[in-house]
């Protein structure tokens, strides 16, 4: 088991955001979490990556307890989180963003990896010296994913990578997700675009108002009538 979340409770002040949520991710999988706005999907990812602390419950990554560990330490363990809303450093150039992605690394292959990211996202190469605030939404999303890859994560957390993108860009992003997975990165994906998310996922979970209500393989959930009605538009 690569990642296992067991019965975590998370509060935002007085708001009970996650209620006894459990989840498992195996090495090499793509796992999707779908759910409505405000169901707690982003909260779950933020708790896994250490930005939030669960009040109770355990999170284990490769057999090591990581709940309560600071976010910057968790990155070093091999979890990389591309947050909701991209959150790129708009006060810096594209290149500086990528280099920050490799902040925890001290090896000589950083430039090589940057080259790889630019091969994957040719548009970033064109804009490498440009201030990242000037990028379009799709380019910013590519930068956010590229930046997350720069730490060479074994587990990649993607939060709403398709949000606000044109349909052809959404297709591009999901094909990149599949590609990354084939190359060996385990991916935990949070999406509102349930259809796409279930298509690419090996397994998926459904989160409703802070509680896990369903879990199954991606295909099974695509066929599940309840999921169809609630998330796939009938």
């Amino acid at each position: 088991m690569m990642l296992s979340v067991r019965g975590i409770e998370v509060y935002y002040g007085a708001i009970h955001a996650l209620k006894s949520v459990s989840l498992e991710v195996e090495q090499g999988e793509i796992v999707s979490i779908i759910g409505a706005n405000g169901a707690g999907k982003s909260t779950l990812l933020r708790t896994i990556s250490g930005l939030l602390k669960p009040r109770t419950g355990e999170i284990e990554f490769r057999g090591k307890r990581i709940d309560g560990i600071a976010a910057d330490e968790i990155v070093r363990l091999g979890i990389s989180h591309s947050p909701e809303g991209r959150r790129i450093f708009t006060n810096m150039s594209v290149q500086e963003n990528l280099q920050l992605g490799a902040f925890i690394r001290h090896d000589k292959e950083i430039d090589q990896d940057q080259e790889k990211v630019m091969e994957r996202f040719p548009r970033l190469r064109e804009r490498i010296k440009q201030n990242s605030g000037t990028l379009s939404g799709g380019e910013q999303q590519m930068l956010a994913i590229g930046r997350a890859l720069m730490s060479r994560p074994s587990l990649l957390l993607l939060d709403e990578p398709s949000l606000g993108l044109a349909p052809n860009l959404v297709t591009e992003i999901f094909s990149i997700v599949l590609e990354l997975n084939k190359e060996g990165t385990t991916i935990l994906l949070v999406e509102q675009n349930a259809h796409r998310a279930l298509e690419v996922a090996h397994r998926a979970y459904v989160l409703e108002t802070g509680t896990m209500v369903l879990s199954d393989t991606g295909k099974a959930l695509l066929a599940n009538p309840k999921v169809k009605e609630a998330y796939l538009g009938g």
Binding site: P83, M92, S151
Partner: protein, 389 residues
């Protein structure tokens, strides 16, 4: 020439270049302090009111170390090469330490509270160090450092336009006379047994000497006014050079090192920065170290090279306030802005003195501040965004 004509128009214009240069020298000091305000604001969105007190403690450290090295003696010039850098390093270290302590124990616990709480704490800490410091620190302890390193209070004069030849000649001949009469008077005076009133001859010699000296001073002034010169105290020149050097180091650190990049990332967004593996707490600490060490350096140099300001626990109040204005003027959070703001602040202050409103020079700082905030709230180089608490 047109410029000559302007300079000839009045005494005032002749002293303008000197005042501008003077303003730049003082402004570089403001810039150095302003960098601390701006960097802390950049990462925490906090006006660190206690920054002026970090500066004050730096000045005390310099004073204390100079006392350890020299006691109450006037410092011999040949020891300056190691003594002054030692003082500088000591001040930087102590100030950095104070900054780190303030951050760790006062600001960090409040990081998730509303920003107004940190601001009030900063005001409280500033008052605490000013008034609490009075209980433990000596006020205006003699001797001042700048009296010990007095060779550096010499100044160098550069002529942009030499004084008129006849006036200069007259001055030099009068100088010779003044020296001669002084010598005669001193000789006569040493002949008088101690405890006795000097006789009429000695008094006459003294009057001679005073007359000659007054005439010389007057001629010297006239000669100087006929030319255009810039006079720079050696110490302040050293201060300027060191300041520029420190700023260059800072720029390199912030723009081209990993720590600097982390600092910029943290100033943009805490969460995203920590998702990159950046330790936000240690980066904030690093920022306080840099900003406070610069304030310490500035304090050591101003305590050493600028005379006439006594060291007490309010030593950092006015420089702190002006540096803060400089930071806002340049666009708070913006590092080149702080330097530009500091230099402009210094020049503006000199110009106010130059036009004869010296009494109001401290008010001018605030007028500039209010003007900038009203019409360009983001400062000269900053973005125009207004902060919301």
């Amino acid at each position: 020439m047109a410029v000559d004509h302007l300079f000839a128009a009045g005494v005032n214009f002749g002293s303008l270049p000197a005042q501008v240069v003077n303003g730049i020298l003082i402004g570089s000091l403001y810039a150095l302090i302003a960098l601390g305000y701006t960097m802390v604001y950049g990462v925490l969105r906090l006006i660190n009111f206690a920054h002026g007190e970090v500066y004050m403690l730096g000045a005390y450290t310099a004073l204390f170390v100079s006392w350890l090295i020299y006691g109450n003696q006037v410092a011999p010039v040949h020891t300056f090469w190691w003594a002054l850098p030692t003082m500088l390093l000591a001040s930087m270290t102590v100030s950095a330490l104070v900054g780190v302590i303030l951050e760790r124990f006062a600001y960090r616990p409040l990081r998730n509270e509303p920003r107004i709480a940190s601001l009030i704490t900063a005001i409280g800490l500033s008052l605490l160090l000013q008034f609490g410091g009075q209980l433990f620190l000596p006020v205006a302890p003699p001797p001042n450092i700048n009296a010990k390193v007095n060779p550096y209070s010499d100044s160098m004069t550069f002529y942009l336009k030499p004084p008129a030849k006849p006036l200069a000649d007259k001055a030099s001949s009068l100088e010779a006379e003044a020296t001669a009469t002084e010598k005669a008077y001193n000789e006569a005076l040493s002949g008088v047994p101690s405890g006795e009133e000097p006789g009429p001859t000695v008094t006459a010699l003294r009057n001679n000497y005073f007359e000659a000296r007054n005439a010389y001073e007057e001629a010297k002034g006239a000669a100087a006014n006929s030319g255009v010169s810039v006079t720079i105290p050696k110490g302040q020149l050293i201060m300027f050079v060191v300041t520029m050097f420190l700023m260059a180091i800072l720029r390199h650190l912030v723009m081209f090192t990993k720590q600097g990049r982390a600092m910029r990332a943290v100033s943009h967004d805490f969460d995203s920065a920590s998702l990159m593996g950046i330790n936000v707490n240690s980066t904030v600490t690093f920022t306080f170290i840099l900003g406070s060490a610069l304030a310490g350096a500035g304090a050591m140099m101003s305590a050493t090279f600028i005379s006439g300001v006594k060291i007490d626990t309010f030593y950092g109040l006015l420089p702190g306030v002006k540096a803060f204005v400089a930071a806002v003027l340049g666009g708070i959070g913006n590092i080149p802005g702080a330097v530009l703001g500091g230099l402009l602040m210094g020049v503006a202050e000199s110009l106010v003195i130059w036009v004869g409103w010296g009494d109001y020079k401290d008010a001018v700082a605030f007028l500039i501040l209010i003007g900038v905030l009203m019409f360009r709230p983001g400062g000269l180089l900053g973005s125009a965004k207004v902060e919301k608490v």
